[in-house]
Amino acid sequence: MALLEVQGVNVVYEPTRGQRIWSVRDVDLVLEQGEFVGLVGESGCGKSTLGFALTRMLRPPARLENGVIRFDGVDISTLKGERLRRQRRNGFAIVLQSGMNALNPVRNVEHHFGDILKAHAHAGEHYPGATVRRRGAELLGKVGLDATVLSRFPHELSGGMRQRVSIALALALEPRMIIFDEPTTALDVIVQKAVIQTIKDLQRENGFSAILISHDLGIVLEATDRVMVMYAGRIVEDQPSKDLVSGPHHPYTEALLKCYADPRADEIHLGGIPGTPPDLSLPQAGCSFTPRCPLVQDICRTLDPPLSPLGHGSAACHVRAPSAAVAGEGVKPVH
């Protein structure tokens, strides 16, 4: 049984009365034990929303409309209150985008650890100061920080250090799955590399499953085993990372790859993707990439392509990965 099985998740976002924006549409995914998966897409494609949905962190006006989220066999999509809180220990954790703001300004790092450890203490477990400090130092060590950080306040730490403390705090829960939501976006490039390396090492050493959400394809390809590409609220491609750079893919993935130029090349062409992402408050007919796709066919306008096999993974494209079911219905895609 896979660690995480997600079926038919939809997230709707209602900023004002009467306005409904479907930011995640009919997403299925499977995450095995110990897998390190990347989730890539442009701003607004719904990847962070999906991450929040999977860890039950959605807040109004966003709402999990329907879908099943089975974590370790248990459907967590409807859990509430104390039962949901308890699930977080040995379950799933999320590390937020802005490490800068993820720490309480008026409490020092040691208190942060204390709060988590005490919140999830089993009956009979006690966490006096010394124990908290020992455990805190241990966890800080895992992310490459010294024990002296324990007595510091968040404003006394650099951005990179704060991000690492956030990761250490997530590790305190001994989770089986961690979702990293844009962990390096707010950091400078050198620190980015160090943090990603830390995450990679941690994942390998501790064996938790991880989802790395980022708009930076480069980091994702470097760190993860498998990559999922999201567009307009749907997963449009799912491939092993090493296969993503070569071979035919979903037109959106290809366009994304073209946006990255090799700095060592003699001539650099910076690509872009013409057009804009669709307005998700309107119902989508057919494939949502249609207006920007160079390979568009008639069927693309009417039928939303399902994820079908392509190479070692799958893609949602009538042209590149024609679906057997669709073909079987007599609607032949024309090349």
Partner: protein
């Protein structure tokens, strides 16, 4: 701008209030802007109640001669009367009709509230903008002055100023109230102006050669309208209360008819002890309602400028 993030966009560091920055460009004409603002306010439930109450008070004030059955100052009635068919609210110790006084009194309270509020806001905006936009000596000086006025207790200062001024009229009240209430607004506006100053659209306006006044009035000010409006309504609320307090203490003009003076005479004539509780209840309730209406409208203004406070 990502519209699908489940978490609101990060706040601008240093901003006390989150401002929804509109596109920098030519502002719609004032009338259309006002109309749009009204419509947005109306959609907020608390603010719409406030607008209704305020509207009623304005109507009463404007149509006072038509609504009031008698003259407010005519001393033709039997004094100290309880409510009757001729005098719906009874009469004062001088034989005046209280109901007519209440109706005409709306004018003064409304006038002072709005005028003092507007004046205080004008001073606050001027000082706040200048201090916020020009860092350095001017800012330090203005900030110090603002803080000084802030820490000096407002009401006592008002009482003392009013006591010193021998000639009393409605306008002295307006001036005294405005003089003591501009500081709060100035501080808020200054902090927002100094945040906006570093925003890109301002920098680009300055680089493209826009003069100081244009930058301040066409780029910065339009992005602070809800803050200024909020300032105005807060100041107006305080002004209504302050005016009532001043009148009650006899520091107002005893010859004008306002809700506060009705209370003053009621206190002088011990209306509570003579059982004429209407003389105390009615004006106080009216003052409270007017103040509440400004506060409620302010809820709507708050929600405009800070999306987190919006009602679902």
């Amino acid at each position: 701008m990502s519209i699908v993030s489940p978490v609101p966009p990060p706040e601008v560091p240093g901003a006390g209030v989150e401002i929804r920055v509109g596109p920098a460009g030519p502002m719609p004409g004032p009338l259309r802007f006002f109309g749009r603002a009204l419509r947005t306010l109306w959609s907020n439930r608390k603010a719409s109640i406030g607008l209704v109450i305020l509207g009623l008070v304005i109507l009463v004030a404007v149509f006072a001669p038509l609504i009031a059955p008698h003259s407010p100052t005519a001393t033709t009635f039997v004094p100290y009367q309880n409510p009757s068919t001729t005098n719906w609210f009874g009469t004062t110790g001088n034989g005046q009709d209280v109901f007519s006084q209440m109706v005409y009194g709306a004018r003064i309270s409304l006038l002072v509230g709005i005028a003092a509020g507007a004046m205080a806001t004008l001073v606050a905006v001027t000082i706040g903008l200048i201090a916020g936009y020009r860092p350095g000596v001017i800012d330090e000086l203005l900030s110090f002055m603002t803080n000084l006025v802030l820490v000096i207790p407002g009401l006592p200062l008002m009482f003392i100023l009013a006591a010193y001024l021998q000639k009393r009229s409605v306008w002295t009240i307006v001036l005294v109230v405005a003089f003591t209430s501009w500081a709060t607004g100035a501080r808020v506006i200054r902090s927002q102006a100094s945040t906006l100053r570093t925003r890109e659209f301002v920098t680009s306006a300055v680089f493209s050669g826009e003069g100081l006044f244009r930058v301040v009035f066409r780029e910065i000010l339009p992005n602070m309208t809800s803050l200024v409006a909020g300032s105005f309504f807060s100041a107006a609320t305080a002004a209504v209360m302050a005016e009532a307090s001043l009148e009650f203490l006899g520091l107002g003009d005893p010859n004008t008819v306002s809700w506060g003076t009705i209370l003053y005479y009621a206190q002088q004539q011990n209306s509570l002890l003579t059982g004429q509780w209407v003389l105390v209840f009615a004006p106080g309730l009216a003052i409270a309602l007017l103040a509440v209406s400004f506060t409620l409208i302010n809820f709507g203004v708050d929600a405009l400028s800070n999306p987190r406070l919006r009602e679902k």
